[in-house]
């Protein structure tokens, strides 16, 4: 077939048009495709922000034994807030990062808060005026949703006191997830043990002695120790954000999933100094995620143990609370958790990781740059 110059020119012009068209299509279609992929910051934003106050009621009406167990826990919550007590408590934690322990002396005066210090130490600190350390009824509502609770037949002993034992099992499972020893006389929570799905104890805390009084109050700082320390505590923690503020944060690209794997529900959101603090619970365990923009300064994790959490490079160090730091996509995240490894993994994998930006993200940015050349106003 003889190719005519004219037809070649036409073919060439067709090809140029084709290339231009394809590029244009790419310029429009690829960003559209990329836009269709939810960004890390938008994960979980599809659902309305949840708070403990607005969470739905449990699916099934609890049975009479279950109601009794819940009532005992509620009584423990009230007792922890209203009772005067002092004593010595140990706390243990086991995780893949290692075992940690702490023995503390506590003094609680209703309406004033809890003073805590390392056993034998001189310094002390106040936690909260509302009775920190007491069970939170809102958390108990979440507990009821994810766990079935019952009262064990046998009574127990703790710190020389007779106790009733409330046991929690994940709904649909027979293995124990937690046990609570509650003082028969006062209702106070005296001992607690939490287990992972294999039955291993992951946390334990108990009073080794307890008095229902504060016989010798510790020396307090000079002026208004309780109030001053309480204010300091409040300033550190910030205040909870409302749902509309949380929605605005999500629109601005912050990751704030309403729920995580393992039944973790978002129940508290705070922001302070450019750090977003998300608190999750399944009713038994607690996980906090702190997010801030930037890249991880490697010096800050010097001496930490490098681990891989579901393929994500992270750093951890042993402690009573699990602490995991990782970074990616222009964010640095820190998990602090009183939970088994599985729930820590659930939190880590739900947030942008160090796998780096995706191919699609980079293409989208390049196309955006090309469009900005054509239209500088964009």
């Amino acid at each position: 077939m003889i190719r005519q110059p004219r037809s070649r020119a036409i073919r060439l012009s067709r090809m140029v048009a084709l290339v231009m068209g394809a590029t244009a299509i790419g310029g429009v279609a690829v960003p559209a495709l990329v836009a269709g992929k939810p960004t890390a910051g938008a994960r979980g934003s599809g659902s309305a922000a949840l708070s403990l106050a607005t969470l739905p009621v449990p699916r099934a009406t609890p049975s009479a034994p279950e109601r009794h167990a819940i009532q005992l826990l509620m009584r423990a919550a009230t007792a922890g807030r209203d009772r005067t007590y002092s004593g010595t408590q140990y706390i243990f934690s086991w995780s893949t990062a290692g075992a940690s322990s702490l023995v503390v002396d506590l003094q609680h005066v209703p309406g004033r808060g809890v003073l805590v210090r390392r056993a034998g130490a001189l310094g002390s600190t106040v936690l909260d005026a509302t009775g920190a350390g007491a069970l939170d009824p809102r958390a108990l509502a979440v507990l009821e949703r994810h766990y079935s609770v019952s009262v064990a037949r046998q009574h127990g002993q703790c710190a020389g006191r007779r106790t009733q034992i409330v046991e929690a099992r994940r709904r649909g499972e027979s293995a124990l997830a937690g046990s609570f020893w509650l003082d028969t006389q006062t209702g106070l929570l005296l001992r607690r043990e939490l287990y992972d799905r294999t039955g291993r104890t992951v946390r334990a805390a108990a009073f080794v002695d307890l008095q229902l009084a504060v016989p010798r109050p510790w020396d307090a700082p000079r002026q208004g120790p309780w109030d001053a320390l309480r204010q300091d505590a409040s300033a550190h923690a910030g205040s909870p954000m409302q749902d509309d503020h949380i929605a605005a944060l999500r629109r601005a690209g912050w990751a704030a999933p309403a729920a995580l794997a393992g039944g973790l529900e978002l129940f508290d959101v705070r922001q302070r100094d450019g750090v977003l603090h998300l608190s999750y619970t399944d009713g038994l365990f607690a996980v906090s995620v702190f997010s801030q923009r930037g890249r991880l300064d490697s010096r800050s994790v010097k001496g930490w143990q490098q681990v891989e959490v579901d393929g994500i490079r992270a750093w951890t160090r042993p402690g009573l609370s699990q602490r995991v730091v990782w970074a990616g996509d222009g964010w640095v995240h820190t998990v602090v958790a009183d939970a088994p490894d599985s729930l820590v993994s659930a939190a880590v994998t739900a947030f942008p990781a160090s796998a780096g930006e995706s191919f699609a993200d980079r293409v989208q940015r390049g196309l955006h740059r090309m469009r900005s050349w054509a239209d500088p106003t964009r």
């Binding site: 080794v208 010096r299 009573l320 993200d361």
Partner: protein, 219 residues
């Protein structure tokens, strides 16, 4: 089981096994909170127990065991055999026949002739469907036209793909690596305090941890 020289001794294993009652357990835990040696021993015991737990023994499928046991044993008069797993013996019986395939000695694989491929399904997007087939033309002309249009379409697709690849490549080159922002050193100690204060009412949380951390952070 007893404590030795002021240390846990054998009680470390009992503690890990959950064999201590409440009071003894509490005393043991308080002791190891302050005794490095005993804490290390308990950690060691826990790791050991965990390793054993993870090890587990793989159990082969029962059917596989039966077949392996049956290999090389003479079949019963009726061609069947049953395997006594307890004694690892083969007992001829008529009440427990096995399938003929199991009774036969294993034979090497025999290559089967490959089946002749059938007509190809129409390729997506090439126009070889009812619409193309309905075009009236002679067979040779149809074949030639089909080749031409296929060639044209191929060129278009190739051109389009090349252009798209060029566009993507250009975007990749032009899309700089995302600015990673300022270097951040997370104040993990403060975070631990805030975590304890926020989640202190959760049944599994330990608010005392945050309190003690507060003392450390403030110092």
């Amino acid at each position: 089981m007893s404590a030795r020289n002021g240390h846990l001794g054998d009680l470390a294993a009992a503690l890990v096994d959950g064999a201590l009652d409440g009071g003894a357990r509490d005393r043991a835990l308080v002791h190891i909170a302050g005794c490095t040696d005993c804490r290390a021993e308990v950690d060691h015991q826990r790791q050991l127990k965990e390793r054993l737990r993870r090890r587990g023994d793989p159990f082969p499928p029962t059917g596989l065991t039966d077949r392996l046991s049956a290999i090389g044993r003479p079949p019963a008069a009726d061609g069947s055999r049953v395997v006594d797993l307890a004694g690892s013996r083969s007992l001829p019986t008529a009440s427990a026949p096995v399938s003929p395939s199991m009774a036969q000695p294993m034979s090497p694989c025999v290559a089967q002739p490959m089946s002749t491929p059938g007509p190809r399904p129409p390729a997506w997007g090439t126009g070889h469907g009812p619409l193309g087939a309905s075009r009236p033309s002679s067979a040779p002309a149809r074949a030639q036209g089909s080749r031409r249009s296929r060639s044209r379409r191929l060129r278009r697709v190739t051109g389009g793909m090349s252009a798209l690849a060029l566009g993507v490549a250009a975007a990749l080159v032009l899309g700089p690596l995302r600015g990673q922002g300022p270097a951040v050193s997370p104040p993990v100690g403060r975070y631990t305090v805030e975590h304890a204060r926020t989640t202190g009412g959760v049944p599994g949380a330990d608010v005392s941890v945050g309190a003690v951390m507060t003392v450390s952070v403030n110092r």
